[in-house]
């Protein structure tokens, strides 16, 4: 059974995402995929299927189910979702019937929400994935964010109830990182200050990177280095020539030449992605083994 949905309101960065386009770094393409991978998984479990879905930003979205029937799952951040005029649980799940409207607006916390379906989006995979890469302009719908008027087709949607879904415990505390590729190029004193100074999340954030504000000027005196361009991974914390720290996110460029002091651990990168502009973040170093332990403990 298929369902047709029409986008009736779209923030500027409403994108189709799946788990990511892995395996193409050697072609110069990073994996993309959801900014909050665990929330994306949760929304999928609530929808009862593992198909591509939509990543919603603080600008929100709305859609109308023009025909058919489908179950949706919602998770990530804290948004306000309305099914017609009825406010839904967040995270949550509901069946949409023909003519139903779904409206999602920003709530109390977070930058990214996920809307997933129990049907498969009728969009062609590009290089094995439907994830939209904002940098390479690949995937999703013609490699671009969704817009008002876009119509999406869902194949195989049934509206069936999902199995039981465990909700994760909320986490807080410092964002943990492992020392980075170029950590040894930073003076001990700068490294110590990096791990003990609060930074601000700036307004300059997108799927490629999050710039940090640092009123304390931790990197003001860091000398600009000429480095050979090398591999970048999501979570890398690089220091630009003017001392601005920037955390590279899912649509990162695959290689880069700025020094990287650390890399946010996988278990904390989702949480970091949800930190809003003008909030404060502290970083704490951990060992790789500890990062792996935290990742194992996180699994449901």
């Amino acid at each position: 059974m298929s369902a047709i949905l029409a986008i009736t309101r779209a923030g500027p960065l409403l994108t189709v995402q799946d788990a990511g386009r892995f395996g193409h770094l050697a072609d110069g393409i990073s994996a993309s995929g959801p900014m909050d991978a665990m929330a994306y998984q949760l929304a999928g479990a609530l929808a009862g299927a593992d198909h591509a879905g939509l990543e919603i930003t603080m600008a929100g979205m709305a859609l109308k189910l023009q025909s058919g029937r489908c179950r949706i799952g919602l998770a990530g951040g804290l948004f306000v979702a309305r099914h017609n005029e009825h406010i839904l649980d967040w995270p949550g799940s509901v069946v949409l019937e023909t003519g139903d409207e779904l409206t999602i607006t920003p709530g109390a916390a977070g930058n990214y929400g996920y809307l997933r379906f129990d049907g498969e989006l009728g969009l062609p995979p590009v290089m094995g994935s439907r994830a939209t890469s904002s940098r390479a302009r690949l995937g999703g719908l013609s490699g671009r964010p969704l817009q008002v008027g876009d119509v999406l087709e869902l194949h195989g949607a049934s509206g069936a109830a999902p199995g039981p879904v465990a909700l994760p415990e909320p986490q807080d505390g410092p964002i943990r990182f492992v020392w980075g590729l170029h950590a040894d190029l930073f003076a001990t004193e700068i490294r110590q200050r990096f791990a003990s100074t609060p930074f601000g999340i700036s307004r300059r954030l997108d799927r490629m990177g999050v710039r940090l504000d640092e009123p304390a000027g931790v990197f003001a005196d860091a000398t600009s280095l000429s480095l050979v361009s090398d591999a970048i991974v999501p979570g890398d914390i690089q220091i630009l020539g003017d001392g601005t720290p920037i955390v590279l996110m899912r649509d990162h460029q695959p290689t880069g030449g700025y020094p990287r002091i650390g890399t946010i651990i996988t278990a904390d990168l989702d949480r970091f992605a949800q930190l809003r502009p003008e909030s404060t973040v502290e970083f704490a170093p951990v060992s790789v083994d500890h990062a792996h332990q935290l990742l194992r403990n996180r699994q449901p």
């Binding site: 892995f22 395996g23 193409h24 770094l25 050697a26 072609d27 110069g28 393409i29 590009v126 290089m127 940098r135 390479a136 302009r137 690949l138 492992v178 020392w179 980075g180 590729l181 480095l227 050979v228 361009s229 090398d230 591999a231 991974v233 999501p234 979570g235 890398d236 460029q253 695959p254 290689t255 880069g256 890399t263 946010i264 651990i265 996988t266 790789v288 083994d289 990062a291 792996h292 990742l295 194992r296 699994q299």
Partner: protein, 223 residues
């Protein structure tokens, strides 16, 4: 084979942590021919005989990225196997490169100033640039974007101080002893010396990029 020098030894590699889901084998911290050849040789070897637990192998200018899933594999196991591979890495086993001829329209806005900075006329610069083949050193930065080199010391200019906001696919760039070719629209701080109709990125193709690290490029003036 066109003039590949015989490399007696590779630089000593170091295995570096890159986050909690990747390792980097680095053959140096500066771009040298031998470090680049070593990176290509290791990546070729690891792609030919995959290491258990490694999800993706990516050659960079002087290093190789190995991505793994810490929930499926133990880092120590991968490092152990990797050390064995590195110990046995044979410089003589570098795979034969493919040869490509790339036609370039030498009409870039920075061609004359680059030539002048090198004390050459534009015609002399073009002749020197095309005099010998260069190798693809790495693909990176953007889809299908290739770094090619190394040019001899008398053809080295630094990057521009200003970044051009966007240049089209097929732009031929020059800086730091290298020629680079764009395959998508992107900003660049390199000098633009020309353009090519050669397209190194097609997302619909079975292999989205054609050029591989180690391939030899012969630049010719487009007729």
């Amino acid at each position: 084979m066109t003039g590949s020098p015989v490399i007696e030894t590779f630089p000593t590699p170091t295995i570096v942590t890159l986050g909690d889901s990747a390792l980097l084998v680095r053959f140096g911290t500066a771009l040298t021919e031998s470090a680049n050849r070593a990176a290509i040789a290791l990546a070729t070897q690891l792609n030919r005989e995959p290491l258990a637990g490694v999800l993706e192998v990516v050659p960079n200018l002087v290093s190789v990225l190995l991505r793994y899933d810490p929930l499926q594999s133990r880092r120590a196991d991968i490092v152990g196997e990797l050390r064995l591979r590195l110990f046995a890495l044979d410089p003589a086993a570098v795979s034969a490169s493919r040869d490509w001829t790339i036609s370039v329209h030498f009409d870039g806005p920075d061609l004359d100033s680059v030539a002048a900075d090198l004390g050459l006329s534009s015609a002399e610069f073009i002749a020197a640039h095309n005099a010998r083949p260069v190798r693809v050193l790495a693909t990176g930065f953007a889809p299908g974007f290739v770094y090619c080199g190394m040019h001899p010391d008398n053809l080295v200019v630094p990057r521009r101080t200003e970044v051009r906001p966007m240049v089209p696919p097929g732009t031929v760039l020059f800086a730091a002893g290298q020629t680079a070719i764009t395959a998508t629209e992107l900003p660049t701080g390199w000098h633009i010396i020309g353009s090519t109709d050669f397209n190194n990125f097609d997302p619909a193709a079975a292999a989205p990029t054609q050029l591989a690290p180690g391939d030899q490029l012969h630049f010719v003036v487009a007729s």
